[in-house]
């Protein structure tokens, strides 16, 4: 019998990370798409950095920053009761940092491609920026949101390096599928590794295929008729 826990944790992690990332990425992407600040390229670079840094580097610095033997980690631990190393919460934080660019980039592109007159039309109707964002802008960049969600979700499922560094491989808590497969391979249980891999492959293949089918292809815009 295989242990379903790592698969459950993986999908739980991917789900929570994706939801939180969506909430974090929308304001960042909105700002990046609209700012004329000269700091924009720098901000863009920072957002892209997690893409470039090996997950081990991210993991390493998170380990240093969050370890309770450290100032910040200690503060978190004592004041908020948050232990971010070797805990599920820590994996969520790591995954958010790790997948940030995958959520921000497509949404930023989506905002940038929207005609500014949509926003203006809403403003002259007396609608606040927030109302405009929620009721007008976001519903009209759905394909970009879907792209961001898929990328972030998928990327989190595939995460390995960060988890290896800060997760500590605790079953039921931080042993995600990628680590479990690694473990099984290391203990020479190729059968179990195979099973995990196939299940992971199957589920994610199904999810992706569904999205592509529903979406009628990633990049197809809804066609006008005029």
């Amino acid at each position: 019998m295989i242990d379903w826990n790592p698969l459950l944790i993986t999908f739980k992690l991917a789900l929570i990370t994706t939801i939180l990332l969506l909430l974090i990425a929308i304001p960042i992407a909105y700002w990046l798409a609209n700012t004329r600040s000269r700091l924009k390229p720098v901000a863009e670079t920072f957002v892209s950095m997690p893409l470039v840094l090996p997950p081990t580097v991210i993991g390493f610095y998170m380990l240093l920053a969050l370890s309770p033997s450290n100032g910040f980690g200690n503060w978190l631990d004592e004041w908020l009761g948050l232990r971010l190393v070797f805990s599920f919460e820590g994996l969520v934080l790591g995954s958010i940092i790790y997948s940030l660019p995958f959520m921000v980039h497509p949404i930023q592109a989506g905002f940038a491609n929207l005609s500014p007159s949509l926003k203006n039309a809403s403003y002259v109707m007396g609608k606040s920026k927030l109302t405009t964002l929620i009721r007008v802008l976001l519903p009209n960049i759905k394909p970009s949101l879907i792209t961001g969600i898929i990328l972030a979700f998928a990327h989190t499922i595939g995460e390995f390096g960060v988890v290896l560094m800060i997760g500590g491989n605790l079953s039921g808590k931080t042993r995600v599928a990628s680590i479990a497969i690694y473990d099984e391979v290391e203990s020479l249980n190729y059968g179990a590794a195979n099973t995990y891999s196939l299940i992971l492959f199957g589920i994610t293949f199904a999810i992706l295929l569904m999205v592509y089918l529903i979406n009628g292809g990633y990049f197809n815009k809804t066609e006008g008729h005029d």
């Binding site: 609608k127 009721r135 009209n140 005029d226």
Partner: protein, 291 residues
């Protein structure tokens, strides 16, 4: 009275251009802004709507101050009572026609206004369709209706009809006039089309390089001294057929082809494509309505 004094530095293809507009507009009128591409027409409307900030100047609408750079007043677009019809319509693709109109409602505004507009602008059939499934003319009507939902004090329209064919255009001009009168609006319209301007507007401003170069009654501005008791037209030569000592010249005037007989001397200076003036000495026109 709408009292406007606005300055803004623009980047134009040929370097910088200073938009500098000083004008007082009478309320309740339909005013056209006319001018070459890049003259600053759209910018003027954006400044009035508060969608762009001027470097210097003010906009006073009746006793309200919308913009005043000296007093650091810059009312956000949300608080100006304006309707804006954008050139590309800017309908919200995620909402149906009716939802577009409902979205425009102010909080607490009675829902009857939407039904009323649907009635006036003839949108009954289209209510539940998404903008993407509408034709250009239909989109335009929805955009107009949507701009009227909040009963704006000032209606701004940026070349609303330029993409439409002649027939649709004439139809929508009627809707615009109807709305302008029914809702007692002050309307500013950008247009390039002479017949549209003459048909719709009470007053016209011509912009060039950011400055008002002419303003006044549109009929007067387009016709100069050409309109008088005499019948005279400008047109373009389409063909010239020589017959013995005369030449039959076909001239296109509007959508009408007219044949005029010219003698050899007259014809000698003419060429196909020339713009010509045709005038009559004695003329007794009759007017017939076309069904």
């Amino acid at each position: 009275m709408i009292d406007i004094s606005l300055q803004k530095l623009l980047k134009s293809p040929g370097g910088r251009m200073n938009l500098n507009v000083q004008v007082k507009l009478e309320e309740g009128k339909l005013i056209t802004v006319y001018g070459k591409s890049g003259a600053g027409k759209s910018t003027l409307l954006m400044l009035l709507a508060g969608l762009m900030d001027p470097e210097k100047g003010y906009v006073k609408v009746g006793d309200e101050i919308w913009t005043d750079t000296d007093k650091k007043i810059m009312l956000p677009p949300q608080k100006r009572k304006i309707g804006f019809v954008f050139q590309e319509y800017a309908l919200f693709p995620n909402m149906t026609v009716r939802e577009n109109l409902l979205f425009a409602q102010a909080k607490g505004q009675p829902g009857t206004i939407v039904d009323q507009l649907v009635e006036i602008i003839d949108l009954g059939q289209l209510q539940n369709r998404k903008p993407n499934t509408l034709s250009g003319g239909q989109k335009q009507r929805v955009a107009l209706a949507r701009a009227l939902v909040r009963k704006p004090r000032l209606l701004l329209m940026d070349e609303p009809l330029s993409a439409l064919d002649h027939e649709m255009r004439v139809k929508l001009q009627t809707y615009i006039l109807k709305a302008h009168r029914e809702f007692n609006l002050t309307t500013l319209l950008i247009s390039h089309d002479v017949s549209e301007i003459i048909r719709l507007s009470d007053f016209m401003i011509e912009l060039d390089q950011g400055l008002i170069i002419r303003q006044g009654d549109p009929v007067g501005m387009f016709t100069n001294d050409r309109v008088n008791a005499k019948f005279q037209f400008t047109g373009e030569i389409m063909s010239m057929v020589k017959q013995d000592f005369i030449v039959i010249v076909t001239v296109l005037i509007g959508r009408n082809l007219v044949k005029v007989i010219a003698n050899d001397q007259e014809a000698a200076v003419l060429e196909i494509g020339d713009k010509v003036l045709i005038a009559s000495k004695a003329f007794n026109p009759i007017i017939h309505k076309i069904s």
